[in-house]
Symmetry: C2
Amino acid sequence: MDLRTHAHDGDRLAQACREAGLKATPQRLAVLKALLISHEHPGPEAVFRQVRGELSSISLATVYKTLDALEGAGLVERVTPLSEGRRYDANRTPHHHLVCTACGRIEDHEDPTLAPILPVDLGGFLARAVRVEVLGSCAGCRRQEQ
Amino acid sequence: MDLRTHAHDGDRLAQACREAGLKATPQRLAVLKALLISHEHPGPEAVFRQVRGELSSISLATVYKTLDALEGAGLVERVTPLSEGRRYDANRTPHHHLVCTACGRIEDHEDPTLAPILPVDLGGFLARAVRVEVLGSCAGCRRQEQ
DNA sequence: TTCCTAGTTGAGAATCATTCTCAACTGCTG
DNA sequence: CAGCAGTTGAGAATGATTCTCAACTAGGAA
């Protein structure tokens, strides 16, 4: 079910929550609806301001918890990457990163076939650089998983 | 000059700093050397611990300032993306993001030709998902720049 | 329908990373 | 080798995120 292709009536959203094992509280429905309506990729603060319109008593902490819950349920996705905090790299050659979602290790991955010709115009947007993050399991973690 | 292909002697690193318009202080050389030696994509805290070995008096604030300076000079790169803070997205169809480095706006960009066949084995690393961020200027900001 | 319980909420405190402030210090240009 | 602009260190300040816990409520069971 792609929630975005339907009217955002409460029943449908509530059903999506329940199927994901979450109680369908008004706070959750409001946060989910705000994210479905917006095309701005809002952050927690922006969601909070938006949702306050219809649920003036909601707290910012609830928005954080709700976003975590919806993300955990796969109803919503973070735009920013999984790896926590800043990480630096002195390798200035073009390369991509393999991020292990189990242990957090970041490996460099050089693959010239992925390197596009830049800058390039993508329908009005002038692309200057491409950042690729490959999420998965590193060799060490795969061994442990077995 | 690719710093990584040479011995990390102080003179060479100092020269790189000066060419970038930065004074070659022992703190900067130590931070730069730590990043060049490490393959762990360390964060500020990890760099701090490493550098303390040879410069026990260095402060964490200096590490932050130094990382910013080195990044600004292009000697070092952040692994994590430019967009600040968390941003969420309820668009669950596979798509990439166009991040405008001028205004911070994030546009969705659907391009099925970029979607690789996943999961795939990349030399031991099991890739499950790919996250692509295209950095550049959005149409609005390009108009303003002219 | 009503009851019960596990899950959820709200408010404020707590935490943690990052930035700021400013006086003291030091590369480096002349 | 003198002077200054840039840099450092320590601690305070900021700001985002998480924690804590008592009160509340959705939704399954009776």
